[in-house]
């Protein structure tokens, strides 16, 4: 019998566990009654989770201990554009153009 790469176990376990999270309420806990407090809390899942995902990506420290300013400024500009336009494409364009311009203007 050919040996199976043990890393398939890693992939399989992560896949199973992730499906368990994704299906916890959609598939397995159908009709589960949630306490009122939890239901109210769910309304804040999008702002809280997305903010927790995005901020560390915008604030990155470089090897010399200083904050990567072009990244932060480009993020702030893109954030303002996202707020006003509520669109993904303008946000991506504003953020990338700003980052590339600042990198060109502020060479390391």
């Amino acid at each position: 019998m050919a040996a199976i790469d043990p890393l398939w176990w890693v992939v399989g376990l992560i896949g199973l566990g992730t499906f368990a999270w994704r299906g916890a309420f959609l598939v397995f806990g159908r009709g589960l009654r949630m306490p009122d407090l939890v239901r109210r809390g769910l309304n804040y899942v999008p702002p809280a989770v997305f903010a927790a995902l995005v901020l560390p990506g915008l604030m990155q420290w470089q090897a010399d201990g200083t904050l990567d300013m072009p990244r932060l400024i480009a993020g702030a500009v893109a954030g303002a554009v996202a707020w006003w336009t509520r669109g993904t494409i303008p946000t991506l364009i504003a953020g990338m153009v700003m980052l590339w311009s600042l990198r060109a203007l502020m060479p390391v």
């Binding site: 992939v11 992560i14 992730t18 309420f25 804040y44 899942v45 989770v49 990244r71 993904t88």
Partner: protein, 230 residues
Amino acid sequence: MSPRRQALAAGLKAVAPMVAAITPFGVTAGVAGLDAGLGPALTMGMSMIVFAGASQLASIQLIDAGAAVPLVVLTALIINLRMLMYSAHLAPHFHHLPLGWRSLMAYVLTDQAYALTISRVMTEDSNRFNHWFFLGVGIPLWVVWQLSTAFGYWAGTAMPPDWELGFIVPLIFLALLMMSINSRAGVIAAVVAGSLSVLGRGLPAGLGLTLAALAGIAAGVIAEGRRGGD
């Protein structure tokens, strides 16, 4: 156009910019698999079985660093814990569907699919075809994720790192974040979660993200209670 097709088309339209935006992210996952010596089957297998970008990148890095299996699995599952919250938020809107549908939806559930669908059901909850909207969002994301991972594995090293295309990932979440804020309490939830996430970035196994998100949710609920909801 039938209402079913209409919902599907609305999903496809909403997801189009997201699909373009996840491409560099998927390419990165493919390049990471190549660099870590995972081989094509494991790299593609991970994209198909796990289908969650941040956890894929983190686990490939840990595998490459020689971390023990339980640590790799635990880290990935903590990073993906947010899917549990998405599942809880979406479930009441779809519990009338048969098991097959709900399983398919769970499998293709991602940050983007959740964000677009939850804002749709907030305005069109009475629409009986919202699951077709979800599918219109989820399927293109899945297909492009597989294609871009494959492209990354076989051709991605040709992409110049100077372009900093990795910056697109926080930009996607920035757009999703701004679209999701619709109240003062939402702003407070975002500020608390965002700042704690930066402070907690040093915590092991992606714990910072989960704890920061939970604190932000609590802050939102408290803020809402104080003002009687707005």
